[in-house]
């Protein structure tokens, strides 16, 4: 992998890392499968690109955060007040957002902001090749620090407890609906920011860019937990909010590097017959998530089979004896 390709992968990994961290909050901490993400990601990108085209890139980033947060609020409202199941609530918001995103983009399926000033322009001019990476790094560091600090406040602790044991949360006089809403709003604000930064990074946004983002985010989160989460646990002997967030981001970077490598080597004889292209990455993401989530079940099934066979053998031995 060339330096440029590697840097590109790390940049993308960091941008999508915000999605992975958002899912860390909604999926891991709140224990909700929040499908709003596919919509709020595009919404953030659409808001960001439109304001960039209008010459206000920084306002675009702010708008991406706020619109993402609003999308999260709608899903939370459907779930907590209207009692719609969490998955369906996310699907409803996501589907509704598809129409809204097109409206935000002025009815066009894709919008470009090529050669316009973006938030990256200044950094690219000042710091050269590493300018983009620097800005993305700053975004990520600020957001992650704020999130980790928040999760260790009294309010943050209430949010964490909500996903863990809702009954206990109520009996500690915490409004579980409020903490759930807060969690979904923050998670989708991060996803919106990710979409907003990506749109300016690639100087374009299109209505389909959010498809599968939730699965990509989950895959990154899981890769991160398995590899970096365990590594960090081995190093510091405990799991904290900080190690969780860091492993999610590292997982996202690794995911992008894997994709880069697969695309680079897809002409090798061993892989050529598969004819892998970028569009196959969503399939790969789904497979990763399926394997990672079903792994404990498969492992236990294999173990149980071994035990059964062993029992059968010893029983058979007795009968024969």
């Amino acid at each position: 992998m060339s330096d440029v390709a590697l840097r590109g992968a790390v940049e993308l990994g960091l941008v999508y890392g915000l999605v992975a961290v958002g899912l860390f909050l909604s999926y891991r901490i709140l224990n909700l499968a929040d499908l709003t993400v596919d919509g709020s990601f595009t919404l953030g990108a659409a808001s960001s690109i439109m304001l960039t085209a209008a010459g206000m890139p920084w306002l675009g980033i702010l708008a991406a955060v706020l619109t993402g947060a609003a999308a999260g609020f709608v899903t939370a409202f459907l779930q907590t007040k209207l009692k719609i199941q969490s998955i369906l609530a996310g699907i409803l918001t996501m589907t509704a957002l598809y129409s809204i995103n097109l409206r935000v983009m002025g009815g066009k399926a894709s919008v470009n902001a090529i050669n316009l000033t973006t938030v990256f322009s200044f950094f690219k001019d000042t710091f050269g090749d590493f300018g983009k990476l620097l800005l993305i790094g700053i975004f990520l560091a600020v957001v992650l620090a704020a999130l980790v600090l928040f999760l260790n406040t009294q309010l943050g602790l209430s949010v964490r407890a909500t996903g863990d044991n809702e009954n206990m949360v109520r009996s500690s006089s915490i409004n579980g609906n409020f903490t759930k809403t807060l969690g979904l709003v923050v998670a989708n604000a991060m996803v919106g920011l990710s979409g907003g930064v990506l749109a300016q990074y690639q100087q374009s946004a299109d209505a389909g860019m959010g498809i599968g983002v939730v699965v990509i985010g989950l895959a990154s989160l899981i890769i991160g937990e398995v590899i970096f989460g365990n590594l960090l646990y081995f190093l510091c002997k405990r799991r904290t909010m900080l190690t969780g967030v860091i492993s999610a981001v590292c997982g996202s970077i690794l995911y992008r590097i894997i994709i880069g490598l697969v695309l680079q080597y897809n002409t090798l004889p061993a892989l050529k017959f598969l004819n892998i292209t970028t569009s196959d990455m969503k399939l790969l993401s789904s497979v990763i998530v399926v394997i990672a989530i079903s792994y404990p079940v498969a492992r236990d099934a294999v173990k149980l089979r071994g035990q059964k066979r062993k029992l059968k053998q010893t029983d058979g031995g007795k009968e024969n004896g």
């Binding site: 928040f150 260790n152 406040t153 009294q154 209430s158 407890a161 949360v169 009996s171 006089s173």
Partner: protein, 264 residues
């Protein structure tokens, strides 16, 4: 202190499964009284506690706590003044959070959750003190995840959480029934100690008639959603398990599920 007026709750109203769980219950509990509640399965004991805590809302009637009508107040708002323990020791604690974090959440009960740090050294010292009183060796394990503890330890922590900022009312729904006998005795002894030291008004459901008579100041017996027996004072002091079972037969015309009650 606690006042129930003509409280009614019917489940599956209008269907063939319609069941009157609570049927015009009236009850006045003076401040600091420790009541034990007995009765067969489906008598309405748990439902009564849930109506008081707000997990269920009644069809009619009213619940008044310290002179304030709380009949339709949401559960999390009522929880500021009410501690509620269940039979399942897993229900009261958040497993993936540490003992310290669980206690911190409970300690903040009734206050507004702010952006201040969730844990502090000062609180940790206080929690350690409180854990030492449990005498389960948990005082040095503040950073341990609650999910790693045994059922008895978790129930003891739940008890501590429910009482760490003293509630006006403590509801105990067979909170020792899922524990092994030795642990159950220990948790019950702890309960009595904490309730006595803080003079908390308490309602405790138990299937053990002996401990229903041993604990507290007053014993209520429920049957088909009604309170059919209300024992206190001298009458209660002279009561034995056998006499109580006999009384139950007379009052309800039914045999009490006494095997389970006597053996548990």
């Amino acid at each position: 202190m606690l006042e129930l007026r003509e409280l009614c709750k019917t489940f599956y109203a209008g269907t063939v499964n319609e069941r009157k769980a609570i049927d015009h219950v009236n009850l006045t509990v003076p401040e600091g009284e420790f009541i034990t509640l007995i009765g067969g399965n489906g008598a309405g004991k748990s439902t009564l506690l849930k109506l008081i805590s707000g997990s269920y809302l009644p069809d009619s009637g009213s619940v008044t706590l310290s002179g304030k009508d709380v009949t339709y107040l949401p559960e999390h708002k009522r929880a500021r003044n009410i501690g509620h323990l269940f039979q399942d020791p897993l229900m009261g604690t958040a497993p993936s959070m540490t003992i310290e974090e669980n206690l911190s959440l409970a300690y903040l009960r009734g206050t507004h959750r702010s952006l201040a740090p969730a844990t502090s050294r000062k609180n940790a010292a206080f929690f350690r003190e409180k854990l030492r009183e449990l005498d389960l060796g948990l005082e040095d394990r503040l950073k341990t995840r609650v999910g790693l503890l045994s059922g008895g330890q978790r129930q003891a922590i739940t008890l501590l959480m429910a009482t760490i900022s003293t509630p006006k009312l403590l509801l105990l729904d067979e909170h020792t029934a899922a524990l092994d006998p030795a642990t159950a005795d220990k948790v019950l002894a702890l309960t009595r100690k904490i309730v006595r030291e803080n003079t908390i008004t308490t309602l405790m459901i138990t299937h053990n008639i002996q401990s229903a008579l041993d604990c507290g100041d007053r014993t209520l017996m429920m049957q088909q959603g009604k309170i059919i027996l209300d024992l206190s004072g001298k009458e209660r002091e002279r009561m034995t398990v056998e006499k109580l079972l006999e009384l139950f037969r007379q009052k309800s015309g039914e045999q009490l599920d006494n095997d389970r009650m006597l053996l548990s």
